[in-house]
Amino acid sequence: MNEENLKHVQNIVEAALLAAGRPLTVDQLRELFEEHERPARQVMEHVLMLLEEACAGRGFELRKVASGYRFQVRQDFAPWVGRLFEEKPQRYSRALLETLALIAYRQPITRGEIEDIRGVTVSSNIIRTLQEREWVRVVGHKDVPGRPAMYATTRQFLDYFNLSSLDELPPLAEIRDLEEIGREIEREIQAEIQFDSPDASEPDDFSAAGNEEASASRDGSSPLTTPDEDPSQSNTTLH
């Protein structure tokens, strides 16, 4: 077989392997040719070797697997190719976030204790999701009837939220203040509307006071450094 013929066979084999979407054996590849033009087995194997060489330095390679030959995307490109198949993540439910918050602040905590505080049952799905995400793990079982698992947060949880330790979580007191501040803002707005006095100084005063309070309650420690991460800050600077 001359070089031109070889190239022709090589192109057909290449096209067939790319179109098949499954591995093809040497004989299956030979079957693509009519009898009078069918390459011998050795020729086909030679062509496959040429094809393998032709893939050098490209995005895909020829691989021999149990059921024949196939083209395969090179492992090197998996990080990019993988993004093709990423599903758009959905958002977590409020129930899940509440559960996570309780585990973070009250660990080690059992499911029953979470349910007591939330006033509703916690679905197994939520716990499983949190465990799969590796934010939460079982640290033991409480020595009470039923021996319920006790949950705690993980290193990965801290890493994800950019915390070096649980200390950096805003203290519960502050979260309550936050709520207070929110209510105060609302009151202010109501007052403004009632008195119909769009005085610019009022909100500014309030906001300054709010800021003071927030920083005071944090006691010099800074659980959340960037302003956009701090809900109390954004609340007070609303006006």
């Binding site: 198949f85 079982v138 079982h141 991460e229």
Partner: protein, 282 residues
């Protein structure tokens, strides 16, 4: 892949090619396996052949186009008399044996008859013809149809999937599981907690107080370190590098764990080694 058409339409496929060819070399129909390449001039058509013949056409316009082509006529110069005669002959022959001849063929027959009769009459007024020239209308329709008949052939000859080309793919490498998890802002967690606290206050007298988080965290980590089945030395739970504060936190955490009966601390003899064991199972 599924057959898109009913069987009868497949039938149309084969002979349909014929009318487009000039000179009638290709068979227009097959009767008992024998090709019928042209329809006899004397109009003796075997009944079966005629049925197949008509099915080969996509309607009266298609049949008319075929007749015009066969006469080597230009669409623009249809000899209405001759075409009408042939058309009528065909459809009356079909009608004679088939009762379900499509209405469209009959409407066309009527149209042709009308055009023919008008052409034979002396013209009275030019205006009338300009506004309502049935022949021009027929020509227009034939031209339109011819355009799209050609367009259909063009579309059919476009290189298409599964016939002229095939999409390519290759097997996937091992893919790392991407970060398909939802992203969460810490503020969302805090807001969620705020919600819980609010409700907790409403529903129960639960006290969720400000906690020494470092202690609770240490409680978790000590629990994680402790094997349930054996004691480990008390000292091993402290990390020298953490300094005094770390030791205090660990100690407080252990006291809390003892209080909650989660760990057990034993000392075999006074001033002897202290050992710790989890009272929980993992």
């Amino acid at each position: 892949m599924t057959e898109p058409e009913s069987g009868s339409e497949e039938l149309q496929e084969q002979p349909a090619v014929a009318p487009t060819e000039e000179g009638g070399q290709a068979p227009v129909a097959r009767v008992d396996g024998k090709p019928v390449s042209d329809l006899p001039q004397d109009l003796y058509i075997p009944p079966d052949a005629l049925a197949v013949f008509l099915e080969a056409f996509e309607g009266p316009l298609d049949l008319l186009l075929y007749l015009i082509r066969r006469q080597n006529m230009n669409i623009l110069d249809i000899d209405v008399s001759e075409i009408t005669r042939q058309y009528m002959d065909y459809i009356s022959a079909v009608e004679a044996m088939r009762f379900d001849l499509a209405a469209e063929y009959l409407v066309m027959a009527a149209t042709l008859a009308e055009i023919k009769s008008r052409m034979l009459l002396p013209r009275q007024e030019v205006e009338e013809d300009e506004e309502d020239d049935p022949r021009a209308e027929l020509i227009r329709r034939l031209q339109q149809y011819e355009r799209f008949k050609k367009a259909a052939e063009d579309v059919d000859s476009l290189p298409r999937m599964e016939r002229d080309t095939f999409p390519n793919s290759a097997a996937l490498p091992e893919l790392q599981r991407g970060d398909a998890h939802p992203s969460v802002d810490l503020r969302e967690v805090l807001l969620a907690l705020q919600g819980v606290l609010q409700r907790a206050e409403l529903f129960t007298s639960h006290h969720v107080e400000k906690e020494r988080l470092s202690t609770r965290e240490r409680m978790s980590s000590i629990l994680a370190m402790l094997p349930a089945d054996r004691f480990i030395p008390f000292e091993s739970l402290f990390t020298r590098e953490e300094g005094r504060l770390g030791v205090v936190v660990s100690f407080l955490a252990m006291l809390e764990l003892v209080k909650e009966e989660l760990i057990e601390i034993v000392q075999a003899e006074t001033l002897g080694a202290i050992h710790v064991r989890a009272r929980t199972s993992k």
